[in-house]
């Protein structure tokens, strides 16, 4: 039933219907509402049997999830930003051990400077952990992806991270059809662990592996991710038959059939981009969009096919590898490397800066005039940057840049976006 609810609420209710047996999480904005809601359901007995375990940190949250999953329980957790970094050692371990934990990542920037707002820096920091990473475009998709994530994780024995934009999705109230319990039960079978710690049949998990086999064990993890490239579209298709709507898959294309310019992006900004594209198509520009849902494993073949026929690709991404450039752009470039397709990186929305249609239009106007640089930063205030650069040049003790920039900007509470 379609209801007007907060994204976090929709995800919490959907996760509950996936019947997790252990939920262990530490609250951090913007993930908090999800975990509060699940905690309340466990306390009220509406999510049962399920143990909600309070811990003192994210490191403990992931460690408990690993223990629970290894003991054969369906385990769920959620975090964001610094929380993900704090649990990072255990995040790698969960994947290396092949434990099918599902985690929501309410995407948020990473400090310093401390910033609670949305971007994709946290997800990118976990890019190489061995977790499958799925990105939701809407709150409906965020909810639906969790049902698919548990199935995917457990079939392959690989952990899955469902990324949803912090605040922009987690705190947005919109129509969400939370998957019905009977439908979820039919889609998601009882968890049958590939490996389980059972006192009656003792085994050990987590052996030390030396140079004699480390490569092989890692390669096996890689193969499981490649298997996911087959399984993810199959699950999305089964999901569509069972639930009557499209969610998940490797990527979504929009108006790409005749497009000469294609914009590639992850997550909720795709909605804003599509509105811009519709307007520009009405004005005669042949423009389309590729939204990448599965970021790890990266669907090289599908991306290459989706971009065939384009004359220019613009990757709009909410992350940035300092001293390097766009992270998603690099993957897209790998997918298209033999086609000499001009590729532009547009870094946008860092630390919660609003990505507006107005700014996207200005950037696309530049692109249409062939004025778009290979790497640009949407709405970058170069004047402020220059002030600090000049200060740094003039005096050795110029002080902390973050504080200096804020001081140059003055009061910002009056701003809308």
């Amino acid at each position: 039933m379609l209801r007007q609810i907060e994204g976090s609420r929709g995800v919490a209710e959907t996760v509950a219907r996936c019947r997790p047996e252990v939920v262990c999480a530490y609250p951090i904005s913007p993930q908090t509402h999800i975990i509060e809601a699940i905690g309340a359901m466990v306390k009220a007995g509406t999510l049962s049997p399920c143990e909600f375990i309070n811990v003192e940190s994210e490191f403990a949250a992931m460690s408990v999830s690993i223990g629970a999953s290894a003991a054969g329980a369906r385990a769920y957790t959620a975090t964001a930003s610094q929380g993900l970094l704090f649990m990072m050692e255990a995040v790698y371990n969960a994947a290396g051990l092949g434990l099918p934990i599902v985690m929501t990542l309410a995407n948020r920037a990473i400090g310093a400077p401390i910033n609670i707002w949305n971007d994709h820096s946290d997800a990118m920091a976990a890019r190489d952990t061995g977790w499958i990473q799925l990105f939701a475009e809407t709150n409906q998709e965020a909810a639906d992806l969790h049902v698919q994530a548990f199935r995917l994780a457990e079939e392959l024995s690989v952990p899955v991270m469902v990324c949803m934009d912090g605040f922009i999705l987690t705190h947005a109230v919109e129509g969400i059809d939370v998957p019905e319990q009977d439908d979820v039960d039919a889609f998601l079978p009882t968890y049958e662990p590939r490996q389980v710690l059972d006192p009656a049949h003792p085994i050990s998990i987590g052996a030390m592996v030396g140079p004699e086999a480390f490569t092989e064990v890692r390669y096996l993890s890689h193969l499981r991710q490649l298997d996911a490239l087959e399984l993810i579209p199959a699950l999305a298709s089964q999901f569509a038959s069972a639930f009557g709507r499209e969610s998940g898959g490797l990527l979504h294309t929009y108006e790409t059939q005749d497009a000469t310019t294609i914009i590639v992006a992850l997550g909720s900004v795709l909605g804003t981009i599509k509105d811009v594209v519709d307007r520009r198509r009405d004005a005669g520009e042949r423009m389309g969009v590729v939204g990448i849902t599965t970021f790890r494993p990266f669907p090289f073949d599908e991306v290459r096919r989706a971009l065939e026929g384009a004359e220019r690709v613009i990757v709009v991404e909410k992350d940035f590898s300092i001293g390097y450039g766009g992270v998603l752009s690099t993957d897209v470039a790998m997918a298209t490397h033999d086609s000499n397709l001009p590729l532009h990186t547009v870094v946008a929305g860092l630390g919660g800066r609003a990505i507006t249609q107005h700014s996207l239009d200005a950037m696309l106007d530049d692109a249409a005039r062939d004025h778009l640089e290979p790497v640009t930063f949407l709405d970058l205030d170069l004047g402020i940057v220059e002030l600090e650069r000049a200060r740094m040049k003039a005096q050795r003790h110029s002080g902390p840049s973050a504080e200096n920039v804020l001081s140059d900007l003055g009061v910002v509470a009056s701003r809308i976006g």
Binding site: A354, I416, G417
Partner: protein
Amino acid sequence: MFQVRFHGRGGQGVVTAAEMLSMAAFDEGRFSQAFPSFGSERTGAPVVSFCRIDDRPIRSREPVIEPDALVIQDATLIHQVDLFAGLSREGYVLINTSKSFDELGLGDFLSTFHRERLLTCPATELALEHLGRPLPNAVLLGGFAALTAQVTLDSIAAAINERFKGATAERNVAAATAAYQLVKREEEELARASTN
């Protein structure tokens, strides 16, 4: 699409107001989206929230930059925050105050807008009377329904009942109804004044 921006201060239910408006529109079978401005929540700090209402699915996630309507829950923000940024000349403004626009120092500025779309509502006083607490958010939604006709008072009442329970819900509905009637009366007076 009809876009609304709510301005207020932390603790005044600015985010809840946008959410309840979106629920009211949803109850009428329309598409709607509400979201906050994502600041660090602090009591008393300026807060902004947004609501979009449309007859087709809403995809854009940008903040409401060019609002069709502004709901100003705290008049002390007027000379502190760029409240009217992007407001269309056809736009609606509802301010929580018992003062006139001239008394607020807005007379000249607002003279370029449609006068009948700019109204005030003493929502804090109504809230104190009905709820015993200075929470103007649900109250102003009653005034918003009267001013813009984007949603009915019944849908606002349904949204309040969905969000709150028991006496709190009842009192908020009563206060929103009073605000609705006040704003309607204000509109009628303006209409009479313009025909005379």
